[in-house]
């Protein structure tokens, strides 16, 4: 399902004294089946950008096209059944564990599918599948979501979106507040989904995640798309243009090249390849 932002601008509280332009002339395409990271300082418009994908927000100017669905202010262009888009594009917001409300875990996860017309039986089936996917087995199904730990509740919340079987999965800081192991398990889950064909879009501050998992990076600043590139190209730039936190790996590479060592950066993507590159240089 291709995604296209066509000259999109978005202003909060338009035409009031509180108006604020969060997005400005955004033009971009997200390739079907890609794993795209959206990065930028807090306040650059990342969250606003993703909310246009399922119609939570409608562009003030321009339109967002997801497959055949058009999100637009223009009544003639806009798709009637925008609700269906919310099933195809599953958005998991930051700290999603705060959205749980049902009596049991399985009921909460089944809530989404039921809203889209599935009957109770089918919804529960999807729910169980999704829960297994996030690593929560049967013993969790009938428990109250409020009895679980923070990490478990987050997984329930994500299962709630996965149960909708979205084609496009959008994640806003999914590892925020998790311990490193939890973060790794979570990213492994998304990697698996990506490999099964889901388009994954992740908004994150964690550059290590960007480096390790994504194939495309969209850099935003002040509501504009500054660059669409690959992780390697992004981190190998001369200066710290976007105030992004460079992964330690590249910080060290930079300190080496500052001291005169010549390293072929495109060959370095993790610690082992770095060691090899250094060894190679030393031998010469």
């Amino acid at each position: 399902m291709p995604i296209k932002y066509d000259n999109v601008s978005f202003t909060y509280n338009d035409k009031t004294p509180f108006s604020y332009e969060a997005l400005s002339n955004v033009n971009l395409e997200i390739v079907d089946g890609s794993f795209t990271a959206i990065v930028g300082k807090t306040g650059c418009g990342k969250s606003t950008l993703i909310q246009q994908l399922n119609g939570l927000l409608v562009p003030t100017f321009g339109e967002v096209i997801v497959n055949d669905y058009v999100v637009s202010k223009n009544r003639k262009r806009r798709t009637k059944k925008i609700k269906e888009l919310r099933r195809l594009v599953g958005i998991v917001f930051q700290f999603p564990e705060y959205q749980l409300f049902e009596e049991t875990v399985e009921k909460d996860v089944a809530f989404g599918p039921k809203n889209f017309g599935l009957n109770n039986e089918e919804a529960l089936k999807n729910a169980h599948e999704a829960l297994n996917l996030v690593g929560l087995d049967e013993s969790f199904f009938k428990r109250s979501p409020f009895d679980l730990s923070g990490g478990e509740r987050r997984r329930v919340a994500i299962a709630g979106i996965l149960a909708l079987k979205p084609n496009i999965l959008v994640l806003d800081e999914p590892t925020a507040g998790l311990d490193p192991r939890g973060a790794r398990e979570m990213m492994a889950l998304f990697k698996g989904l990506h490999q099964s064909g889901t388009t994954v879009i992740i908004v994150t501050h964690d550059m290590n995640i960007v480096l390790e998992y994504s194939d495309t990076v969209i850099v935003m600043e002040d509501g504009e798309v500054k660059e669409i590139t690959t992780p390697l190209q992004l981190f190998n730039q001369e200066n710290d243009r976007y105030s992004l936190e460079t992964p330690l790996l590249y910080k060290f590479v930079k300190s080496l090249s500052d001291k005169g060592m010549n390293l072929n950066i495109t060959m370095i993507k993790d610690i082992d390849s770095l060691a090899k590159a250094i060894a190679k240089e030393k031998k010469q």
Binding site: G151, G177, R181, H205, M261, L274, A275, K276, A279, K282
Partner: protein
Amino acid sequence: MQALEVKNLFFSYDGKHDAVNDVSFNVERGKYVSIIGHNGSGKSTLAKLIMGLLAFKKGEVKVFDEVLSNETLHAIRSKIGIVFQNPDNQFIGATVKDDIAFGLENRLVPHEKMEDIIQKFAAKVHMSEFLESEPANLSGGQKQRVAIAGILAMAPDLIILDEATSMLDPKGKREVKETLFAMRQENPNLTILSITHDIEEAAISDEVIVMHQGRVILSGTPKEVFANEDILKNIDLDFPFIQKLKKALKTQGIDVDNLANLGEMAEFLCR
């Protein structure tokens, strides 16, 4: 002198499973000690036990030689300042000024002295322009800095950070770390106990304590602790970047084991 002495501490939330299981350790005055471990390992529970926010069933806690009990609760709390994880849920005042003042009011600081103290400590955390700001208009990092100002204003001898940067964006994390660094510079006698997930932070601490399932399984200097590769791998904890790099270089035939930090490594490798 020991800032903190924890002896055989036991605590359970539900009466069946021990969240803190026979924990003992000491923190020497002036040291920066990190406690690492997965969520659920008992780290945060430990912090609350030390503050007397939870009552332990067995064991002893001594803060600067004073034993924690119902009678000494107030006195001990006045020696410790704790910064919690959620920036919003510890911001009580309507504005930055009011929040810093909250602690002062509790400790019966005279009204006439308050304004100066507030100005002084707001400046220390670089929040002077935001004194009249409301929390809704502040970032997470800013709110945490206000929390730090609030506790600094009470001149604590021991500061506990309970995952104080977990919920912050990289900028916020950096701001808080810089503030802590400056604090330590100014007052080398200040003892800091930091519960953290940041393995790099642990790597530069004076001491590291590793907790797992309610127990302390490792403690010592970062070098000592992270040398236990098997144990750490078993519980799925990560290693600091420098250590991983040293190991990788060794397999390539380059020995940098005795170098202390990344700066020295870069120097050595580029010679």
